[in-house]
Amino acid sequence: MIKYAVIQFPGSNCDHDSLWIPRLRGQRSSMIWHKNHDLGSPDVVILPGGFSYGDYLRAGVIAKFSPIIQEVAKFADKGGIVIGICNGFQVLTETGMLPGALMMNQSLKFICKHQHIRCEKAGTPFTNQLREKQVLDIPIAHKEGNYFIDADGLKRLQDNSQIIFRYCDAEGNITPEANPNGSLYNIAGISNEKGNILGMMPHPERAAEDVVTSHDGTGIFDSIEAWLG
């Protein structure tokens, strides 16, 4: 069985979904409070969505100084699989575990809707059960999802194939109209250089069980488990 650890900050609100989906899949999952110094011995760490510490100052920045994040960084340094979803992605950029920053949506609005994203790189710990250019329907729900990185940073992401998901239309076309929040290069999800850390704004845990309309998030959990299996 694969062990997921879900990090819970004050203000996390997708923590229970992130805890539930692995269990539904027959795996184990545990909640780890932000003040803990012990991560246990998980196979995967999920930094869930929400509003950690009320999003004060900047989304994700206060979490950078929580005791458990130091442990998550050590786990990732050793090659551990880490996925940050939505606020979790914001935390990963603020801690410097992923490059770039997530700024306020260009529309200034909180956006909550289904969104198509395209898998840009198959074969990673998070996409090995997906095909390149496969289109997924995964919900988004955020106000600070506008990915930004400077020109050199974008080039590095491209050269190292770190761009994992991009916003697209239902047919997989990457267009400005299909970009919900103004993200540079339609970026929806990136990995670190080593490839063991993924940050993404869309919520795969909200599209991974029968009771919801899209099941496209399943492919990401399938990939993580296939990678570790």
Binding site: R58, A101, M103, N105
Partner: protein, 83 residues
């Protein structure tokens, strides 16, 4: 006691959608000489330190560590002695 006034602003290369909306709104109100608006953060910090230099070192450190995101923002500050 010292008071630091810290201004955290978006880099010129970074789009500021809030500033754009504010500019559009004031233009719509008839203030047509307003050509650009940038919205930023202003933070006041009181420090119990004994010198200006100590206050500056402290403020620089926290700006770098937490107050500004080096990817998108820059900062400047003014420090004065509180009477």
């Amino acid at each position: 006691m010292y008071l630091a006034k810290v201004y955290v602003t978006l880099k010129p290369s970074v789009l500021d959608p809030q500033g754009k909306v504010v500019k559009q709104t004031v233009n719509n109100l008839g203030y047509d000489k307003i050509t650009d608006v940038r919205v930023s953060k202003y933070i006041e910090i009181k420090l119990d330190v004994s010198s200006q230099e100590e206050a500056e070192a402290e403020i620089e450190a926290i700006c770098d560590k937490i107050l500004a995101n080096p990817n998108t923002e820059t900062y400047r500050y003014e420090i004065g002695k509180l009477s």
